[in-house]
């Protein structure tokens, strides 16, 4: 069975015969593993048995551009140095004081955006191909700063509704142009903090429900599966995720959520992905402790299926290599043992 088929079976509620896994890795951890195993960056992901093949539309950010880069939204990113942590390398944004009077939103219709993704898919044919797209909340705050955006959700509603409309249109246009061969779209957002949602569920329903209704519908219209990522505690949104028909949700951070309870309540209705803490044992424990926690997490989360095993969030760059290798070996044995 291919890794792609295992994920598809899982999403369909069938039993692939083992628990698939996927590790999110920082670029530097990928390089460390590549050096350890003797592969290049793409090859090591394949070797460690990752079931998902992450692909990205070209906005320039995820290319290895040294120094500062200004994307099509006018947001400035620092992609150099230690900032291989994804979208948190933002250093400046184009909109100040809610003034959009001279701003033109990108429409997402430019050509050639998926050229690299197509080449990557041709190289690795065994995996479940996932196009990662930044969600409307994150895109919104990239244009105007986190603080102003959240303040605006309360006191500048007309402006924020406009922003959501524009970025939703952009996202839907990106999805429209996704090439053949992609299996799913994974929307990337940050809705939660360690202790709950970052903003009220009422605000989520006001701004994000209409946006995501459109986005998820667009994804499904392309025959693709819907994956949703959010950091933090999003327990209060799980019923909405099920209602909106999300197929796979991650990261299921155990430091922030009661993942056993989540599994119990929603595990039949949606595939849970993640669940293994990446903030504690992996970077700070021993290989034996990592394996023990992995086994314990697997036992809870894989009951009844509909689970993709993996760390919740990226494995930190400085995690001891022996811990990561132990986890890789553990995961690769799951298929062999039929666990």
């Amino acid at each position: 069975m291919t890794r792609k088929n295992a994920i598809v079976q899982l999403i369909r509620g069938e039993n692939p015969g083992y628990t698939p896994h996927h590790f999110d890795l920082t670029l530097k951890m990928t390089d460390r593993l590549a050096e350890y195993y003797g592969y290049d960056r793409d090859g090591v992901e394949d070797y460690i048995g990752n079931h998902l093949l992450y692909l990205d539309p070209e906005t320039g950010f995820r290319n290895s551009v040294k120094g500062n880069f200004v994307d099509e939204f006018g947001t400035t990113w620092d992609t150099a140095g230690n900032y291989d942590i994804g979208d948190w390398g933002m250093v400046d944004f184009p909109i100040k004081d809610f003034d959009f009077s001279n701003y033109i939103f990108p429409d997402g219709k430019s050509e050639g955006r998926y050229d690299t993704a197509i080449k990557v898919m041709e190289k690795y044919k065994d995996r479940f191909n996932v196009m990662r797209i930044t969600g409307p909340l994150n895109l919104g705050w990239y244009t105007m700063g986190f603080s102003d955006f959240l303040i605006g959700m309360l006191v500048e509603k007309e402006t924020i509704h406009m922003v959501f409309d524009k970025v939703t249109e952009y996202i839907c246009n990106l999805i429209d142009r996704i090439p053949a061969g992609v299996d799913a779209v994974r929307m990337i957002e940050d809705w939660g903090i360690q202790s709950g949602l970052m903003f009220s569920k009422e605000l989520w329903m006001e701004y994000l429900y209409p946006s995501y209704s459109q986005i998820y519908q667009k994804i499904r219209s392309k025959g693709l599966y819907v994956m949703q990522h959010s950091c933090g505690d999003i327990t209060d949104l799980m019923p909405v995720m099920v209602e909106l028909g999300v197929d796979v949700i991650d990261a299921m951070q155990p430091e922030a959520m009661d993942i056993a309870q989540i599994k119990k309540e929603f595990g039949r209705d949606i595939v849970l992905f993640g669940g293994l803490g990446s903030q504690s044992t992996i970077p700070c424990g021993t290989p034996a402790e990592v394996i023990a926690e992995a086994a314990s997490t697997l036992k809870i989360m894989s009951a009844g299926g509909k689970y993709i095993f993996g760390p919740a969030g990226s494995i930190p760059t400085e995690a001891p290599i022996e811990n990561v290798v132990a986890l890789v070996d553990f995961c690769k044995s799951l298929a062999e043992k039929g666990i």
């Binding site: 620092d78 140095g81 230690n82 900032y83 942590i85 948190w88 390398g89 933002m90 250093v91 986190f146 603080s147 959240l150 303040i151 959700m153 309360l154 006191v155 903090i193 360690q194 202790s195 709950g196 949602l197 970052m198 903003f199 009220s200 605000l203 430091e255 990446s278 903030q279 504690s280 970077p283 700070c284 930190p316 760059t317 400085e318 995690a319």
Partner: protein
């Protein structure tokens, strides 16, 4: 309703312009600046802090309240200076070297300012030397370090070591926080206080500053607080 309650209520609702007008009105009516600050602005932020801690409100509500407080506080500042009213303590805060996450740090800053502390915000990606240099130059009672990544929290150890090396650790306490940070990590690196959330951090900072004042007073030393 007293004007202080009106200031507090409108601050909690994030009505920044109204808060500013009410603060001006209170000044015009002859109320002491310190009382306007404490019974109006800080009282409102204290309620906001408790509600946030109890998950009754969320980050946007805290941000709009803080914005209202800052607008009122900015208007009050010259009157406070004229009356010789000083902050109850001074903190320099930042996210450690290599870390760009500032949500938590910004919330801590707002809560600390809401408790009457003066906060020097060093931003993100702050080198250990910068924390020490600022604490020294601005006579801070507290260095407050934030980290969201396990890869960067180790930098907090450098801050502690540098504070020890510079001989300032006795009079400048080091607070740490952030998602991967724990009480045991705090003890292990020799920091003074770990806080799990922004409100607790503000409470702890107020207590630390108060204790340092008492210590300084009992030793007969004269400082900025």
């Amino acid at each position: 309703m007293s004007i202080f309650n009106e200031i507090s209520e409108n601050l909690q609702q994030g009505k920044a312009k109204v808060v500013k007008e009410l603060v001006q009105q209170a000044v015009n009516e002859g109320y002491p600046a310190k009382q306007i600050l404490e019974d109006g602005l800080l009282a409102g932020m204290t309620i906001i802090g408790e509600k946030f801690k109890n998950n009754d409100i969320f980050v946007p509500e805290v941000l709009v309240a803080a914005r209202a407080m800052n607008m009122g506080a900015a208007l009050l500042k010259p009157y406070l200076m004229e009356a010789g009213v000083k902050a109850s303590g001074k903190v320099c805060i930042g996210t450690v070297k290599g870390d760009l996450h500032d949500i938590g740090k910004n919330l801590v800053k707002m809560m600390m300012e809401g408790r009457g502390l003066e906060v020097v915000d060093l931003g993100t990606d702050v080198a250990a030397e910068k924390f020490i240099e600022t604490a020294r130059e601005q006579d801070c009672q507290i260095i407050c370090c934030s980290a969201l990544l396990t890869t960067t929290m180790g930098m907090m150890k450098d801050v502690v070591a540098m504070a020890d090396g510079a001989g300032i650790h006795a009079n400048t306490k080091i607070m740490v926080g952030g998602a991967p940070v724990t009480e045991s990590f705090c003890s292990k690196i020799g920091a003074d206080k770990y806080s799990a959330d922004a409100v607790s951090a503000a409470d702890a900072a107020v207590e630390i500053c108060r204790n340092l004042i008492i210590e300084r007073t009992s030793k007969g030393s004269v400082g900025s607080v």
